[in-house]
Amino acid sequence: MNPNDGMNDNLNDNQRHGDSVKKTPRRRLWALAATGAGLLALAGCAKDAPQDTWQPAGPNAEQIDNLQQPVFLVAGIVGVIVFLAVGWAVFRYRDRGQGIPEQTHGKPVLEITLTVIPVLILIGVAIPTASTIFDLAKTDDTEMIVNVTGQQWWWEYDYPANGDNADRYGIDAPIVTSGQLVIPEDTKVLLRVTSRDVIHSYWIPKLNGKKDSVPGRVHPLRIEGSQPGIYAGQCTEFCGLSHAYMRMETVVLSRPDFDAWVANQLSSYTPPAAGTLAAAGESVFISQCARCHQVNGLANADGSLIVSAPEQYVVSGAAPNLTHLMTRNTFAGASWDLLNSSCRDDVWNATPEEFGARYLAGVSEPCLNQKDLREWLRNAPEKKPMYADPTKLQETDGKYRGMPALGLTEDQIDALVAYLLELK
């Protein structure tokens, strides 16, 4: 692929225009073209826009970027030429009392030329486009697989415990998480994207373009991160009431950090010490939350394991698995941070070298974003729009879409927060 193909065609185009417009100062033309190009280039360097589509952080996004940069440049140059031509015509041929012009109906040579030039430019764009499309669709060298499932209004990540996942990354039991997708650095990860209800779209701009998650279909999407860090994304297919609150993040960790993360995710559940506030919180969790939210290893007093049954209460049939909630630093479809703002900045602004350790530290009590979490536990549908009014669920046989208000007391919330902090 040679992005310069298109540009060369454009230079010719420019020169021809320059020749036909005898008096145009060519320098001005170039200055304007350069300004336009410069502005476009600037748009690509903005700082700190987490979903900026011009700052690739992995080979897939880079491939797209390599394609779009020259295309934008060519489009900008063509645009400038058209504007100059219009401007010149408006300036030069305005009515200054000249006679009625000759009634020419066209000049075939000129028309053909001005049709062929865009054809050539477009051929120059088409060839690298086609080859990039096929490159990006490659899946045969996949190193890791994650099943990504969208539902109103959060994403579930499920790491299957077989194949490369088990052999190379030690994932010997399925890991089910939500909100943040964690992947190892420089690894070709294949996301198998699907949905449990309506169509959503998985998009981490710095890692790749978007791919719709469609119920009944599994779509392949390859991502790969070249540097440890957090990469923000958002659901981009309109998916109903809380579409704006369906966000996601992908976390890239160095290989040793990723191994540590896997080991922690596979670690078994430790119940809170008896008599603590957290132990009280566990029983609140069991009575109020566990019917939808799975915590692996959570058991009743008689020792029987608790298996959540979200399919009885929720249209999509799923609710986020909270086993290691405090290893993620977001909740509610990545709409809010579990970290308070200063701790969040420490993680987000960390250098690639520091990042792993800070991320793996998880959420500790001093760092917890108490405000948003408590508001959420107090009345979730007030914080994030959801279909959770029990009086308006005729169409769904009483099932919710989203989390209902649980009517917890402040004491229960205190206990619950203490318990959730234990879920590391």
Binding site: L42, A43, A46, D48, A49, P50, Q51, D52, T53, I64, Q68, A75, G79, F83, A85, V86, A89, V90, Y93, R94, D95, I100, P101, E102, Q103, T104, H105, G106, E111, L114, P118, L122, A126, T129, A130, I133, F134, L136, S201, W203, P205, G209, K210, K211, G216, R217, H219, A232, Q234, C235, T236, E237, F238, G240, L241, H243, A244, R247, D337, E395
Partner: protein, 670 residues
């Protein structure tokens, strides 16, 4: 004075039974006589009156859709906006798009087509005048029906693209989407009947000598659009029926649990939806292709290429629909094919831009408001077209689709392009339709405020999109806004401010209309205020009911210009040889006789009225539906039994010395 006469029904032929005058024999079904009261507008079949009614109704919906847009922008002016709830916001953007596409741009183009196509081809009316009226009433009642959902539990909330399965009752339990589906079915009838009507009119009713390649370019573009409608509307009709059956009768066309593939809806929608884009833009291309030559005093550069590239867009436009679906999970082969076909369609579109610029090149340009809007279209559409090319590059599109970059793109195309073209048409043809020229000073305020507002609103959206702000988001959050020059906060604020300036610009248009028609200072416009080139200017302002006293013989493209100007054989200078008044007087010196105009009819409005009744019945009460259906059958019967002509007193008296009408021709049966 031309004579509009009634057909004589009682020419006695020896031995034959006496011919019964239908208007007398079928008393209850009499056709209404002409009156000057407002009631005449309810029963009119005159293409000009219907054109004006299309225009007024469409402009009303433009204001409705515009207010929805302003609310959307106010909501997004700052982070975590509180103006609209998520539910209201979703209804707002769904109805904004639906209103602007189906209830403003399409019918406004229909307004111009209705009014000017018969005039431009030298016809007295359209081929099927009653069907024409029926189409208008379907559009109006469909649009009102659709908007009543606001007051009946909430409007549709699935986006104008209404992707399944989010559009099923499970995910959208209010009746909003039912109203949306049925309302669009009713307006679809308007588009479909209108398209057949205009195709037949253009192909069969041109003045003598007007070959296809002598047709004004606006008429050409209208013809292409009608073919697009003829084939696109049935597709959306089918899709809407499937959705209707799914929602109302529990069918499972898009039910994944029953084995359906939700992509079926996307394919059906965009096979309609992409030609729809050209349905929206081509009429405006036609309008500016009329205006630029007039204000450049030159013929349209490369007329055959502009006409044929319009037709080419009409064909290729059917092969690009899946570029709306690059991220929806098609395989790489389909993506590549649609990516390349999308690039291909840029060529005939680019050709038009080149031809407009070349028309101005070497001309004698004057910059009255119509020309300003036309140039505005050329420049802004170019921006929209080029951003379109950037997302024909499918991998690049997977970054841009469903972000504000796309919102920027299609608003440059549809607002900067289609709507600017329509405004150019308002200013250009206003004196033709209403005898008064809109005020130029107010017109320039109108233009410049719209240019500034439009670019301030939609220009920053390029940045917002490339910075990763998705579409259809009720709120945006500070946490994802960034901090640099391109931060979302600043540019969202600018876009919202721009939308207010844009609204102010449109307010200036309304002020201009009111001023022009209320102020005593505004004089009657000259017969040919712009020194125009085409046939619609070869009659009085506004045209008489039968359009032309005598149908012109057409020898040239730009016939009117050629009647006014001649080239000096020696000096090659072009000189005016006749004024517009002289051309008109020359034509009217020999008025046609035996002109038959279609009579008014009660039935179009009544048949159309039955449709929303059926639809309310379908949503609320099956008995009401039966009542509506019975009403529909009765009114269709009335339509069928209606006599061909109005009572005797609705005609000009026979001209002296002509001995009264002797022809046996009947008026068009429409």
């Amino acid at each position: 004075m031309a004579i509009i006469e009634r057909p004589s029904a009682d020419v006695a032929v020896a031995g034959a039974p006496t011919v019964v005058k239908p208007s007398e024999a079928l008393g209850v079904f009499k056709r209404p006589a002409a009156t000057s009261s407002w009631k005449d507008w309810l029963v009119t079949v005159d293409h000009k009156k219907l054109g004006i009614m299309y225009g007024v109704a469409a402009f009303f919906f433009f204001i409705v859709g515009g207010l929805e847009a302003v609310l959307i922008r106010l909501q997004l002016m700052g982070p975590e906006g509180k103006v609209l709830s998520a539910d209201q916001y979703n209804q707002m953007f769904t109805m904004h798009a639906t209103t602007m596409v189906f209830l403003f741009v399409m019918p406004m183009a229909a307004a111009f087509a209705n009014y000017f196509v018969p005039l431009q081809i030298g016809a007295r009316d359209v081929a099927f005048p009653r069907i024409n009226a029926f189409g208008f009433w379907c559009f109006l009642f469909g649009g009102i029906f659709l908007n009543t959902s606001w007051f009946l539990g909430g409007a549709a909330d699935g986006g104008w693209f209404m992707y399944a399965p989010n559009s099923s009752t499970l995910f959208s339990p209010t009746h909003g989407i039912d109203f949306w589906v049925l309302g669009l079915q009713i307006t679809g009838i308007a588009s479909l009947t209108g398209s057949i009507n205009l195709i037949v009119t253009i192909l069969n009713m041109r003045a003598p000598g007007m070959k296809l390649m002598r047709m004004p370019i606006f008429t050409w573009m209208v013809l292409v659009v009608q073919f697009l409608l003829l084939f696109a509307i049935p597709v959306i009709t089918v899709a809407l029926f499937l959705l209707s059956f799914q929602r109302t009768f529990d069918a499972t066309f898009f039910d994944v649990a029953a084995g359906a593939d939700p992509l079926l809806w996307q394919h059906l929608f965009w096979i309609f939806g992409h030609p729809e884009v050209y349905i929206l833009i081509l009429p405006s291309f036609g309008i500016v292709s009329e205006i630029i030559p007039v204000f450049s005093k030159k013929p349209l550069f490369g007329y055959p290429i502009v006409a044929l590239s319009g037709a080419a867009i009409g064909f290729v436009g059917w092969g690009v629909w899946a570029h709306h679906m690059f991220s929806s999970g098609l395989g790489p082969v389909s993506v590549a094919v649609f990516s390349l076909s999308t690039m291909a369609i840029a060529v005939p579109t680019g050709v038009k831009i080149v031809n407009w610029v070349m028309t101005m090149w070497g001309g004698k340009l004057t910059f009255a408001t119509p020309m300003l809007f036309a140039i505005g279209l050329v420049v802004q559409f170019t921006i929209g077209g080029l951003s379109g090319v950037t997302h024909s590059v499918a991998p690049s599109d997977t970054q841009q689709t469903d972000t504000y970059y796309i919102v920027a793109h299609f608003h440059y195309v549809l607002f900067g392009g289609a709507i600017f073209g329509l405004f150019a048409g308002f200013y250009y043809w206003w004196p033709k339709m209403f005898r008064r020229q809109l005020n130029e000073t107010l017109g320039k305020w109108n233009f410049w405020l719209m240019v500034v507002g439009m670019n301030m609103t939609f220009g920053p959206m390029h940045i917002l999109g490339l910075q990763g702000q998705p579409r259809r988001m009720q709120v945006w959050t500070e946490a994802r806004a960034g901090e640099g020059f391109f931060n979302l906060g600043f540019w969202n604020f600018i876009a919202s401010t721009g939308s207010l300036i844009l609204s102010l610009g449109i307010l200036f248009f309304i002020i201009n209309v009111v001023y022009t028609h209320k102020s005593k200072k505004v004089a009657i416009a000259p017969l040919d205020p712009w020194d125009a080139r085409s046939l619609e200017w070869m009659t009085s302002n506004p045209p008489v009911e039968h359009n032309f006293d005598s149908i012109p013989n057409v020898d040239h493209l730009d016939e009117f210009f050629h009647r006014k100007y001649e080239q000096d054989a020696n000096t090659h200078e072009i000189k005016q040889v006749a004024t517009a008044e002289e051309v008109l007087a020359d034509m009217n010196a020999h008025p046609d006789e035996h002109i038959h105009m279609p009579s008014r009819s009660y039935w179009p409005i009544l048949v159309a009225l039955a449709l929303p009744i059926i639809c309310y019945g379908l949503i609320y009460n099956r008995l009401l539906m039966a009542v509506g259906a019975a009403f529909l059958l009765l009114t269709m019967f009335g339509w069928a039994m209606e006599p061909a002509t109005a009572p005797d007193d609705d005609f000009d008296p026979p001209a002296p010395g002509e001995g009264g009408g002797t022809t046996k021709e009947l008026a068009p049966l429409g």
